[in-house]
Symmetry: C2
Subunit: 85 residues, 2 copies
DNA sequence: GAGAATTTGTACGTATGTATG
DNA sequence: ACATACATACGTACAAATTCT
């Protein structure tokens, strides 16, 4: 899975979709840490604001929760969005 | 009302508090536009992301709603947070 | 316990795109 | 055509808390 810079879909949504897929497929389970902002920056070649946008989006959707200065983790199943499966 | 850079309170929260006070005092009413990002940038001498952060915060709290590429406006009273009055 | 590395938080700068008035 | 305004995105920097060595 990688991002497509010619796809008009915003990069932050493309990466969010990748992570959601990993969660949904069980590759990332509840309380597992998702990739850190720095990891996203280096792995996808994006800026940090974009990485933060990914996390903010996933958090708003209920996929993850963040503990300040520790990390961001997969939320319990019952907090996941209902419409996207 | 102005911001205090020696106050450890984040600038975006200081400005949000100013705007909330203006809403609560009736200076800004439902459907009135709040100051634009650019206005905040110039009036408070802050950066763009900080201004965006102010707006995002107010939106998350239910004080305002944003119409893409038009502006951000004071939300109806019944959407305001309940704890802060 | 000390110090380094990691990670998120905050903040400013800059640029381009796109829609509206 | 132009100004306004939000959306997206990269770059940079430092702070603060946590985790690792």
């Amino acid at each position: 899975m990688t991002i497509d810079r010619f796809d008009p879909t915003p990069i932050y949504l493309q990466i969010a979709a990748i992570i959601i897929k990993r969660i949904w497929q069980g590759d990332l389970e509840t309380r597992d840490p998702i990739p850190s902002e720095s990891q996203m920056v280096t792995e996808y070649g994006i800026g940090r604001e974009t990485a933060r946008h990914v996390v903010a989006h996933l958090r708003e959707q209920g996929w993850v929760f963040t503990i300040a200065r520790r990390g961001t983790y997969v939320a319990p199943r019952d907090q996941w969005p209902t419409g996207e499966r």
